[in-house]
Amino acid sequence: MSEQHHSHDLPFWRKYIFSVDHKVIGIQYGISGLLFLLFGFCLMMLMRWQLAYPGQPLPVLGNLFSEKFMVGGIMLPEFYNQLGAMHGTIMVFLGVVPLAVGGFGNYFVPLQIGAPDMAFPKLNMTSYWVYFMGGVTMIASFFVPQGTAQSGWTSYPPLADIATVGQTMWLIGMVFLITSSLLGSVNFIVTIVQLRADGLSFFRLPFFVWAQFVTSFLLLLAFPPLEAAGVLQLMDRVAGTSFFLPSGLVVAGKPLTVSGGGNPLLWQHLFWFLAHPEVYVLILPAMGIVAEIVACNTRKPIYGYKSMVYSIVFLGFMSFIVWAHHMFLTGMGSKMSAFFQITTMIISIPSVIILTALALSLWGGSIRFTTPMLFATAFLPMFGIGGLTGLPLGLTASDIPLHDTYYVIGHFHYVVAPGTIFALFAGIYHWYPKVTGRKMSEILGKIHFFFSLIFINGVFMPMFIMGLAGVSRRLYDPMQYAHAQPTQPLNVFISICAWSLGLAQIPFILNFFGSLIWGKKVDRNPWESTTLEWSAPSPPPHGNFDHVPQVYRGPYEYSVPGQKHDFWPQDMAQEN
């Protein structure tokens, strides 16, 4: 192919930095996402010191921070709030989404649908670099006077309106990130609709592609309202408007000199209009990855593929009309709160269907416990806990004592940490051979898995107990409240588990880089899988396939009776 020769002529910076190849961009997104995940995790590990040992100086590390953040090694409340706000922002917008959608989506969607690249390669490059700018802005905001945003990742005004200059940086960073996601989602939708290989009808798409497709629609239609909200908050902060400021505010004893007339709840509506679908942006690609890995490692088709597809589409649709369950305590009327409770209960049903189908897919299989499969299997109960604990929060009556407590933190972290992030780890172990041509170490992988599983539960399970006891989230010093004191030993336990969880990532980091050199070399299809990406060379060249793929069957034809092998690739014309 002359194209490939052509690509070899490109200078280094066009080939690896400002590349338009979806695989290079996918790797860029993936590496950036992983680094941000690590960074966001480090912020949390710092917070955990203050929570476990409030007011005590942080040993060794404490002296490295300037007076702006820590005095004599003791964390200031300002800094604690900054860490909290940025942990959330970084994990969601700079870590998980770029890794799940930007990284896995970019790399594997074109491969799984048999396309040579994304539909708009230059746009793809642009979205990565806009994301990069957003990341740089967010990191830089730590260094402006008085530090970065400190009003939580939700940035509720009026607090965020009157916050220090870091909040403005946060808003600008968010505008970059939102723009990047919008450009990316347009690209995904067009790619999936237009560039599927011949024979690859919608109901022959791997579930991962379906998940990315629905996710892209969520990004496309839910993100703009947050962009609008960000613009309004920027106007409030920079141009002195009062979109979110009602009349008659008195801050620190002095009347605020603004026109007033705004509504703080307007922000919450626009924010949660995005942020609830955003939860599904985090979870749907994870479900997609798990489905791929479960099918491959049970050696049998997914149970109820079609009902899973319908469920995921329905899930995406419903996610747009449940958002106000984050606002049950804002004084809304009983009719609207009933409406949002009903939609919230309805949305749980497709999640149950998907989870049940994945669990039933195991039945009758021949399960290989490879590292990716372990992570994917662990996803099921962990996501289950996350989903179930959403139930008390979705009903207004039980939400009253639990709202904004550690119960909420436990709930959504079960969904995104041992849920989504485990699925992302599974994906890394599963597709690493495709990207690099080498396998990751199974021994290190299993060490990574078991320790992560133990410690991550040690981190989040006690939070439910704390939440029931009524301990509020975002408290710099929980010992101030009598009702939070009895559970303080749990805080110490959580912190120790969190730091141990940090240590448990070392085998992964070693494995990730070490396997580039020492990993076992593999051919194109080391897992004996059926989907299209495995019929491209490992790593795939520019243009992806050395033949034009033609698809003959559904994505998960494993253990078909009468076949010589227990897998029947989608693009294999005759029996094998």
């Binding site: 194209e3 052509h6 690509s7 338009v20 190849d21 396309a115 040579p116 690249d117 539909a119 708009f120 390669p121 746009l123 919008l182 989602s185 347009v186 690209n187 939708i189 067009v190 609709v193 237009q194 560039l195 496309l220 239609l221 839910a222 993100f223 703009p224 309202p225 962009e227 609008a228 909200a229 613009v231 309004l232 106007m235 141009a239 002195g240 408007t241 009062s242 979109f243 603004v258 026109s259 007339g261 705004g262 509504n263 307007l266 509506h269 626009l270 209009f273 520019h542 243009g543």
Partner: protein, 199 residues
Amino acid sequence: MSDNLIRYISKPHPVTGVTNAKLGIWCFLASEVMLFGALFSAYILLRTGASSWPRGSEILNVPLATLNTIILITSSVTMVMAWASLAMKEFSKYKRYMGATILLALAFLVVKSFEYGHKFEHHHFPATDTFYAIYFTLTGLHGLHVLGGVVVNTYFLFPGSRMWEHEPEQFMGRIECAGLYWHFVDLVWIFLFPVLYLL
């Protein structure tokens, strides 16, 4: 580049019947609908919650805005005529219509800046009250969209138009997409005008 391997760039997909670019621009416009939708939603929420709300026609300059409406509608017509000229393979006519579109867009911005200047002279700023806040935000964001359209159209008038010689079909697709965007900007104004100026 890999562009050559990607299908349906200039020819429509046999099943969906559209090119990649056309589906892409419509998706982009869908997100724009949500962007302006959120701002309109903000407008409704603020207005229904306000104890009093000024009549736009009493404090804003309706004749100037009417002129701007006509200008923008006209530019939409010239834009679609530019596309139609390409369809009839009349490249010089295309250039004329495209030039007219850009000039009209610039005229719109000039009128708009007079309007803004007038408001600033009378010390009406976004911070004055919620009405001015939403007025400046909505028209400002719309103005940025007009400016973006000017940039894109200027590109397609001068350097971008070289594509006509070797890839006429793809070039026509691009002009159609630029047109879709431009009509959308017009469409937003069609709603902004009564909502801000007349009600």
